[in-house]
Subunit: 439 residues, 2 copies
Amino acid sequence: MITPAVDIATRVYNHAWKIDPIIRSLIDTDFYKLLMCQSVFRNRPDVNVTFSLINRTPSVRLAELIDEGELREQLDHVRDLSLTRGESTWLRGNTFYGKRQMFRPDFMEFLEGLRLPPYILEKRDGQYELTFEGPWPEVMLWEIPALAILMELRSRAVLKGMGRFELQVLYARAMTRLWEKIETLRQLDGLRIADFGTRRRHSFLWQDWCVQAMQEGLGEASQGGAFTGTSNCLIAMRRDIEAIGTNAHELPMVYAALTDSDAALRQAPYRVLADWHEEHDGNLRVMLPDTYGTRGFLNGAPDWLAGWTGIRIDSGDPVATAEYAIRWWQSRGEDPREKLVIFSDGLDVAEIAMLHARFNGRVKVSFGWGTLLTNDFRGLVQGDGLAPFSLVCKAVAANGRPTVKLSDNPEKATGPADLIAHYRKVFDVGPQERRALAV
Amino acid sequence: MITPAVDIATRVYNHAWKIDPIIRSLIDTDFYKLLMCQSVFRNRPDVNVTFSLINRTPSVRLAELIDEGELREQLDHVRDLSLTRGESTWLRGNTFYGKRQMFRPDFMEFLEGLRLPPYILEKRDGQYELTFEGPWPEVMLWEIPALAILMELRSRAVLKGMGRFELQVLYARAMTRLWEKIETLRQLDGLRIADFGTRRRHSFLWQDWCVQAMQEGLGEASQGGAFTGTSNCLIAMRRDIEAIGTNAHELPMVYAALTDSDAALRQAPYRVLADWHEEHDGNLRVMLPDTYGTRGFLNGAPDWLAGWTGIRIDSGDPVATAEYAIRWWQSRGEDPREKLVIFSDGLDVAEIAMLHARFNGRVKVSFGWGTLLTNDFRGLVQGDGLAPFSLVCKAVAANGRPTVKLSDNPEKATGPADLIAHYRKVFDVGPQERRALAV
């Protein structure tokens, strides 16, 4: 006997009546956040970091859509959360990438005692300025819940006032759309794809539905299917599927901000991965090379990095970058066919199919499908008020020094303009192609 | 706080595991069955009638799709049902068409004591032969549950083996389709439309969903909307909406079969309505003239019938028939603008819009929307295995004499060929247009 699936439309309808917490668990977050947190807890526990919310789609005026009181209630609720016994057991006892006890006992103790630090919320120019400041291993865990809360409050604001059957049909249409995507993906021989859609999901229940649809529609990788897992720990735990993820830009950004010379700055991204190298092997040795430009990063990389399992491509032209990585591995005497290339930047089905056709077999291809998996409601309400938008929450300062991210797309660069210019010089970043931000 | 809507896909999925009764209440039937039952109980309680299931779409081989054991279980379950206290209270206390105590105390006592009589089930040539024989007021109540059971068992048979999310998406598509129909109907100024879809519904839960979607999408007639109610008593009771219906072909068919002369046969349809006239007034005085040909019926009708509230058009060319009725009223000195014309034959949105445009204002137009409201899954599964089909359950004999129905479409005629020929002569039915049966 299967437990009844939650009726999403009814739940949304009920939001008009009562408070319904968006984040109900500290592990309703991306798996790589916990991996990075453990690394930071070991290597840089005392760095003071500031995370800030940045809405890269200013036309979506969040402070006009979302009630400040409701936002505070949701954020306050997250501060009340702590790791439950079951969550702790799952983290301590589970096998991740075939490895037991990925999380060390000292880190688990820290996590079990953790409450998220305070937030600072202000309104400016139709937007919320939401900032988190504190010890890096603590504040870094605000990123995903903060994003998910804002995304879902925005969904709720747009849906408020819709009738119950109008809502059912809205979700019916979104389900149909996703299922058609999955039916297309099912045609791709040898596909491997994971859910990376926590941060910009339409809602928690919707992400949960999407993951289950992927599970059934594509089959689980452990049983010969294409679906490799989800980045969301809570859903992975509840649905008994693989939690997926490695590391992200915040590590090189903070490491870089803390350096005192151009030479040290230039080495910062490798320093991050040297720390990572010590802790992890196998599928967790996946580099994210684009923080200060992929080409420069690969050109200057030490040989031990060429021995890593793979690379994640998260900005810029994915074809050109993957081709560059293949040539780079070949130049270092590595066989690209043994290497993993994870595409994760603003993907949807057509691009997944194109990249799969081009690279499958030449490298081991995998996809991290985010916003357009868990939040594709484009065109489904009047005024397209549910279209996804580009909201991020980034480390903007470390020990009082501003951080910088360049990426392979200048549209994704963050940091003070003069520092961006300085970083571009230090990392020898040439002209970059400007690419519109899908999400 | 709203109670959560049932997740239909999950329920269907669960059918693989346990018995799930299709008919759970004696009033999960059409309202007009109860009205007619009361009339029969008063006027012809001792007639012995045989009802038989007839599948007018022989390509749907029901006996190959549906397990006999499952069918027997469902039919046996109906025989265990009796009127609950709440159902009795609702029937006794409710207002129908503004009238209290529509059901007389002696009839309610009969109904409260009623258990449905036995059934005879055989398999022949890939079809089920399902027959009910007994006192007319008892066997007549088998028609709707028998049809609904076979329709839903067929749905379940086709859906068995589908994955849970495949099912969700199937229902998502069907919901989207219905909502688009409702959005089209919403444009029609002054529309009045009811659910007549019990007998050939996809399933009970689906009909319930469709009714609620109509309720929300069109608004209730009592509040200025277009949705006038449902023929289904159980749904009307639970959703607190109007139960709708008047009378059907079985009355003239049985009355006719019992006559002993051509003169009496010719008068039988009017005799039915004379009995009805004594019992009911207002909105219940709606004639169904097509049993033995609409034109002959109207030409020979007594003048008191021209004073009735309206007419239901259930076969043949609806435009021609409605025009004929308008001319008939005019010839009898009646103002057609005061008359109700209910269209109820195989309707879908395009035809509803066409008939509404043509007749609204010239008469009071109303629609009874059946199969393509509650069972439009055309094209949604491979092989179109869920397409609706034309299943009926008809009175085939009365006191051992075969019944005959001609209707305005020879495709809908039932009865022995020689008797059909005789009836055509007695009722002076000329050439008839053959129309394909939509459903």
